[in-house]
Symmetry: C2
Subunit: 316 residues, 2 copies
């Protein structure tokens, strides 16, 4: 009984998309591979804590992918299977790999997605609201019992088209994880430090700003943490980097069960590590062969990457 | 005699531009203020070591500016005064402040600049070749006696129009300090880690890549150091940030007299600090009132900004 109770406490509930992606990068091309924010988040987070997935797929979704989730101890009782086709996204990256050009989006069954939280998920203490309509994000919160924290993502589309609904959702979350362009867009403020102050006044006490190859800034309790991205010589496919970051970040927080400054900073590093592995191959290929020892090794490399000694030049 | 000799050893020789800038930012406008790469570099470096300036100005250059250099112990014996007008640059920054739009450039006396290194400068052990024609950069090196190291800057114009000459200069320098766009342009490589390897094969053993608000990466001896920029709520005028960075970076190295990895990393932080102060006001206004204690305080703040603890999650 004690073990079960512990498991429940550290469990993560994630709501988002599960999709088939068709991706072209300068290094290769892949068709109808497993993608979607909830997929990337779940697998990354599963290295740290049990994950409960809420999403929707069509009847074309193969058992092979469901098996993959199970292999990573991702609970799929919340994965609805509806008649129709699974959400499809097609995108292409140029030489710089910094932004995907969306070539096609087919919402399919995702269009009528209404998140239903299975009874067994409702006591999850850690909730991640992936990038979906802010109205749906709040429908999720209405179905769960006082989680320890709620983290959420959003995107330019919701900022543009559902700003009032998004504000209502933000008032209910503790952690917002977005990229720098979204932070600027949400606030109309070009200076990120100022933008962070504005966002924290909307609800989230903690803001994590992802800047792609330029790393991450976290704003929490008036304190700022800055971390570079892990330098990679071969970025193969950036798709899912942000969601893998969120998975590692929330996963580590759930594993540790604390939200103090030191823990949050470590979580940023683990998020960055999961993102850095994810971009080394298409879809979840790299995650499938990732070992705990590799994560720990990259953590040490992050220490080396960012280390500098104290100095007292002007007191000597 | 001993003191004189020590001073000579840590002295820095800088060659670059001294200019009148007219700058417009969203926060204000200033006309014909003191600018130029050598001005920003000299004043920033002077907080760490004595600086010997080589540049050219016209007969319109007021003594007031020369006095400013002297106040910061910048030696101006190498500041040529020629008949004609001083180099003038006019630029404007948009809301994002990330890149200046050049509205006008008048080279004036700078067009016929031929660096002449005064006898008293020739034993300087630290040389910084500011962003000028790579042919002139080599003319400087031909006039100095075996410096301990040579650092240099360049820009897109020279990469585009003088690539062969630039390559000859790079073969003679130990440290290249450029921005990320220039590193990509110089190598035709979008991935910065790969670009760094290519550049280090051209000559410089140490590459420092400035990324503006996203911080700095340094590549040295196969090791990478990543530091965020100091987060500022009010960036007033970004002009001279890169040159102030170089001044703090080279200045600290000259002060310490070593080139080991730890010293280089501290130098990156001091460079970032000088850049962060410089952008808080027009021209050298912030530098004029900057105190050593403020530099030291910001160093401590950098430690706090980037600190995270070791972790052994996967060995527990």
């Amino acid at each position: 009984m004690l073990l079960v109770s512990l498991e429940l406490h550290m469990s993560i509930l994630v709501v988002g998309s599960v999709a088939f992606d068709s991706v072209k990068t300068p290094f290769g091309e892949a068709k109808d591979i497993l993608g979607g924010s909830a997929s990337y988040f779940s697998i990354a987070a599963s290295f740290f804590a049990p994950v409960n997935l809420v999403a929707v797929v069509g009847d074309d979704f193969p058992n092979e992918h469901v098996d993959l989730f199970h292999r990573f101890c991702v609970d799929t009782r919340g994965l609805q299977k509806l008649p129709g086709k699974t959400f499809r996204w097609k995108g292409e990256y140029g030489f710089a790999l910094n932004e995907a050009k969306t070539l096609d989006t087919q919402l399919n069954v995702f269009e009528s997605f209404r998140p239903e939280i299975p009874l067994g998920y409702r006591n999850c203490e850690y909730v991640f609201l992936g990038n979906i309509d802010p109205v749906l994000q709040r429908q999720v919160l209405a179905q769960v019992n006082r989680p320890k924290f709620v983290a959420c993502d959003t995107m330019n589309y919701w900022i543009d088209h559902r700003l009032e609904e998004l504000r209502k959702t933000l008032a209910l979350v503790q952690i917002l994880i977005i990229n720098d362009a979204e932070a600027r867009m949400l606030t109309g403020e070009s200076n990120l430090t100022k933008a962070a102050r504005t966002i924290c006044a909307l609800g989230p006490k903690i803001l994590v700003v992802k800047k792609g190859e330029y790393g991450v800034s976290m704003y929490a309790d008036g304190s700022i943490f800055g971390a570079p991205a892990f330098p990679l010589e071969d970025v193969f496919d950036p798709t899912g980097a942000g969601d893998s970051f969120a998975g590692g970040f929330v996963g580590y927080l759930a594993k540790v069960g604390r939200l103090d400054g030191e823990t949050l900073r470590k979580a940023v590093i683990y998020g960055s590590i999961m993102a850095s592995f994810n971009v080394e191959d298409f879809s979840l290929q790299r995650m499938k062969r990732l070992k705990h020892s590799e994560i720990q090794e990259r953590y040490l490399q992050f220490k080396v990457l960012t280390h500098f000694e104290a100095d007292q030049s002007f007191h000597a």
